[in-house]
């Protein structure tokens, strides 16, 4: 039996899956003052009448790290960076003092300038002096020490091109380790190149370390207490999972896993083999995803959280401010949206629709639920699209009144206005999807073969989940002119996704036969090779490493694959060699399909 828990902004959903069937689902409100208790209560409720001994795995998608970052409840972090020659980076998005040190490794991983240990000694003294000063100040002012201040600080160390040669990062980390509670080395988090993103990723990892560690320890203890002994996994933004113990050292990978959970849920509920658009229409927002040949589209470099661009691998998702609770208003001037829903035969509707604004904010609940501002949901109610058994006559009247007031501004009946609102909602989503496709279809490629192949994403289906999905489906069908599919279990798709997600991992290998060095940064592998090392050997080695890692991640067999490979001839004066680059991953996938 698989347990999946997905904690979102307002709700926490849980699901238990057994023999390809959903045997139980729950839905609770999130208590923002106590996320830990929220999760525990959800688990307790879900398993209350189930056989705990049968639970083989618990997968959690949490907002612990995400919230800590968004709400600035992170630990203090010292940053030590080696930026070398290049752009004069500044990191205004990072609320820590940045300490730059000398030394440089170039793009090949060659040591150009070594570390200056005298400089490091001075920095060490300086950093601890600053820390002492802060502690003294706190004591002097008799401040009530908060959680963060009472702990020793964390450290993030990032050097330029550390994914090509991590020796400086390792040396600096060792040198300072004793002074810190925790140290993050940039190269361990991703094998991809991008120094500013690596800095942000390493910073965030150290920043959420304490809060995630506390959560992880508590949750593990709490589950043991109720005799759940199954392994616990945490969901990542790439739609995969990682064991709780790994998440403690790499908590940054647990950020923004919510959209990935929905995506995986939709994957589980649909038959996916073609190019398609996936929409998760919620209360506040609509999340848009794409499948190409049934495979998710990933963020090209990594996910962005707040002001931080990171190297955290993530399923490509874009959120727009359109959901059931999106507020409605009438504006005098056109908002410039390209509304061409009826442009061919009805310019009158067209002009009116341009004056209707949906969202992008949520300004409270729908009138139907006692709110003060008309919403998309209220428009649906006017058209009798909702299940009226759930509402009192009074509630329905509130909604109708609000919509009528807006409709009168355009001299329309409430029904006509509501109809136009739903059409416009569908068109807004379509326009956004078109924009994203334009961007995705012009992503850089680097070979003549790819330019000539010109692989374009052309969705043939639209798949929708979420509260308003059922009602909007017919409107989406008209604007997309494609088949629109709705699964039955769409209300807890996110928790289903969480339950069925499997561990994922990406590895990057670079072998340089001139330097006779092989590196897989994510596994901290930096070793010697012979000058005749070949692409085939590299392929074998990276898969061997990945399969070994996969075994540690899961008891069940995980499929691995090579996703990119190249071997460049290097000619340097009289010597020559090969520059071999291979990227491999555990295939993102699901434990089973839901029947």
């Amino acid at each position: 039996m698989l347990i999946g828990i997905d904690m979102g902004g307002t709700h926490i959903d849980g699901v238990a899956v057994k023999d390809n069937k959903i045997i139980k689902t729950i839905k609770h409100q999130v208590d923002h003052t106590d996320l830990y208790r929220t999760i525990l209560n959800a688990i307790y409720d879900l398993i209350a009448d189930l056989d705990k001994a049968q639970i083989s795995r618990v997968n959690l998608s949490t907002t612990i790290s995400t919230n800590a970052i968004v709400e600035n409840k992170t630990a203090a972090v010292d940053l030590i960076l080696q930026k070398g020659p290049g752009i004069n980076f500044e990191f205004p998005e990072i609320p820590s003092e940045v300490n730059y040190i000398d030394g440089y490794v170039d793009h090949r991983g060659k040591m150009v300038k070594d570390l200056d240990y005298q400089q490091l000694a001075v920095l060490k003294k300086d950093l601890s002096a600053r820390e002492d000063l802060k502690k003294d100040l706190n004591k002097a002012e008799d401040l009530k020490q908060d959680l963060n201040m009472s702990q020793t600080k964390n450290l993030a160390v990032v050097t330029k091109f550390s994914t090509r040669n991590p020796e400086h990062e390792k040396a600096i980390a060792d040198y300072f380790a004793a002074d810190y509670n925790q140290v993050t080395q940039g190269h361990t988090l991703s094998g991809r190149l991008n120094f500013p993103r690596r800095v942000n990723t390493a910073y965030l990892n150290s920043a959420v370390y304490n809060i995630f560690q506390e959560f992880a320890n508590n949750i593990a203890a709490a589950l043991r207490e109720v005799e759940i002994n199954a392994p616990i996994y945490i969901l990542k933004a790439d739609g995969g999972t990682m064991p709780l113990v790994d998440a403690i050292t790499r908590p940054v990978e647990t950020i923004l896993s919510g959209p990935a959970a929905s995506f995986m849920g939709m994957s589980a509920l649909f038959d996916n083999r073609m190019d398609s658009v996936l929409l998760d229409i919620g209360g506040t927002t609509t999340d848009i995803f794409f499948l190409v040949d049934g495979v998710p589209v990933f963020e090209p470099t990594g996910i962005t959280i707040g002001q931080h661009k990171t190297l955290v691998r993530a399923i490509y998702s874009v959120s727009i401010g359109l959901g059931g609770d999106s507020c409605l208003s009438v504006v005098n001037s056109a908002d410039g949206d390209n509304f061409n829903y009826l442009s061919a035969n009805n310019s009158y509707d067209n002009n009116l629709a341009e004056k209707i604004r949906i969202g992008p904010e949520r300004k409270g609940p729908p009138l139907l639920f006692g709110g003060t501002i008309p919403t998309l949901t209220d428009a649906m109610s006017v058209l009798h699209k909702l299940d009226f058994d759930n509402f009192s006559t009074e509630q329905v009247t509130w909604a109708r009144q609000g919509i009528t007031e807006l409709a009168e501004q355009l001299a329309l009946s409430a029904e006509d206005f509501a109809e136009l609102v739903l059409k416009k909602a569908a068109q807004t989503i379509k326009n956004q999807v078109d924009n994203l496709l334009l961007q995705l279809n012009s992503q850089p490629v680097y070979t003549v073969r790819e330019i000539l192949a010109d692989r374009q994403i052309k969705p043939v289906e639209v798949k929708v989940i979420g509260g308003p999905a059922k009602i909007l489906a017919e409107y989406l069908k008209q604007v997309f002119k494609l088949n629109v599919l709705l699964p039955e279990q769409f209300k807890v798709a996110n928790a289903i996704g969480a339950a069925l997600a499997q561990p994922t991992m990406e590895l990057n290998l670079l072998a340089d036969t001139q330097r006779k060095i092989l590196i897989i940064p994510e596994l901290n592998i930096y070793e010697k090779i012979g000058s005749r090392y070949s692409l085939a050997e590299g392929q074998k080695y990276i898969l061997q490493c990945l399969n070994q890692a996969a075994k540690k991640l899961s008891d069940s067999k995980l499929a691995t694959e090579i996703i990119e490979e190249s071997s460049f001839n290097m000619v340097d004066g009289y010597s020559s060699g090969k520059n071999i680059r291979i990227k491999a991953q555990i295939k993102p996938g699901l434990s089973c399909v839901i029947e």
Binding site: G86, H107, V112, R164, N569
Partner: protein, 434 residues
């Protein structure tokens, strides 16, 4: 970080194409540039965007070249993509998608002449010219300055714009007596329709930052201020770099960045540059930052040492004199044209062109009709040691009715004894071959 100038980059390293496995023009050439750009996070700078090439069409090529026997035979898909990258770079600026653009594409193009029998100086199609002429066709007439900052003389571009007064071509390069292609002297100044609008500045070996920037300040920028082009193109070779393996100059990443800041080109197109590990990653980063209007002061080669690269005072002195001469010739261009061509009705120019990469020898005579109403009909009689004997007729963009008519008549009556006859009608964007 926010770019001051919205910059479009057509970065296309062609990782699956090489002239041969160990040729300087091989798959690896832009690999370390890509690594550097990725590690610097260039793609995350707001205002800098990446674009893909759109392969060039046959017609794009025919506007510039007489491809013998035809475009399909002479140009590989890789060449079409590289030329397409240059077209896209121009189009980014003309369509307003970017304020400036830089095409980092390969293979390069500035050694490709009007007639193309094969590859010379690693070039088959002149990527700048193909891009520029596509723009002129799409967006109308333009006054353009092409500044060739490659270390080798841009002999192909010179040939293409030899008789075009609306395209000012300035090339500075290592003196042709010491480097391929062995041309690019100051008296190569243009055909009878555009004398003085082809400017060569041959620099002595070991010229450093000081010399290049002197030429820029004292020759190039003043001429540009007078010529007032609608568009400035940097034919951006990077082989003036002190670490380049096939040249002998002392220019630097800082120097290239300063040059691009001052020159302020609208479009830059990568040409040569084969110090792929020690120069290109830094020079390209420097050019990108300079074009985007960002701080490039930190972009230096790891082994950069200004004292080691200081320019010999004798070189400085030579460059001062040379600059004065070149600038004076520019000012005297009308007088000099009169001296050079006088009252000739037809100007002929005989040349031998060697295709070093493919080992082909071509003998050609270019004939420029002197016309008082336009830059004049012109045609090339050419034969290669591979057995081709061709005539290529060009009706220039500004051709008068008479020259147009004459062009078609010449095309009609030519043929006997020739393997191929071509007509470029630039007025009507029509290209014929028989």
């Amino acid at each position: 970080m926010q770019a001051k100038n919205k910059l479009g980059l057509v970065f296309f390293p062609a990782f699956d194409w090489a002239i041969s496995p160990s040729h300087p023009e091989r798959e690896e050439r832009l690999l370390y540039t890509q690594d550097q750009l990725f590690e610097e996070g260039i793609q995350d700078i707001a205002g800098i965007e990446f674009f893909n090439p759109v392969p060039a069409t046959e017609k794009d090529v025919q506007r510039v070249h007489f491809a013998v026997p035809d475009v399909k035979t002479r140009f590989s898909k890789s060449h079409m993509v590289s030329m397409g990258g240059a077209i896209e770079a121009f189009d980014l600026v003309f369509s307003g998608r970017s304020e400036k653009s830089f095409a980092l594409v390969r293979p390069p193009g500035h050694h490709a002449h009007r007639v193309v029998y094969g590859d010379r100086g690693f070039c088959v199609g002149n990527i700048e010219a193909v891009g520029l002429e596509a723009m002129r066709t799409k967006y109308g007439d333009l006054r353009v300055a092409v500044i060739d900052t490659d270390c080798h003389h841009g002999d192909g571009t010179e040939d293409i714009y030899w008789n075009d007064p609306d395209t000012l071509f300035i090339s500075f390069h290592q003196d042709g007596r010491t480097l391929y292609p062995g041309t690019g002297y100051i008296d190569e100044a243009g055909g009878p329709g555009a004398y003085g609008y082809n400017i060569n500045i041959p620099l002595p070996p070991k010229t450093g930052e000081q010399g290049y920037l002197y030429v820029l300040d004292h020759v190039i920028l003043p001429i540009l201020a007078e010529y007032k082009p609608d568009l400035i193109v940097n034919s951006a070779g990077q082989d003036n770099h002190y670490s380049d393996p096939i040249t002998n100059m002392n220019f630097t990443a800082q120097g290239y960045a300063i040059l691009n800041e001052k020159l302020n080109p609208d479009v830059a197109i990568l040409e040569g540059g084969y110090s792929i590990e020690s120069a290109l990653p830094y020079v390209n980063t420097g050019i990108i930052l300079a074009m985007a209007g960002l701080d490039y002061s930190g972009v230096k080669e790891p082994d950069y040492d200004p004292s080691r690269l200081r320019q010999d005072p004798r070189i400085t002195e030579h460059i001062k004199k040379l600059s004065a001469t070149v600038y004076e010739r520019w000012q005297q261009r009308d007088v000099l044209a009169e001296k050079e061509y006088g009252n000739q009705k037809l100007v002929s120019r005989k040349r031998n062109i060697f295709y070093d990469t493919d080992g082909i020898m071509e003998r050609q005579t270019q004939n420029f009709k002197v016309c008082s109403n336009c830059s004049g009909l012109n045609y090339i009689d050419s034969r290669s040691d591979r057995g081709s004997k061709i005539k290529g007729i060009t009706i220039p963009r500004d051709a008068c009715r008479n020259c147009q008519k004459e062009g078609y008549e010449l095309y009609e009556k030519s043929g006997s004894g020739l393997t191929n006859v071509y007509l470029q009608d630039r007025v009507n964007d029509r290209y014929l071959a028989k």
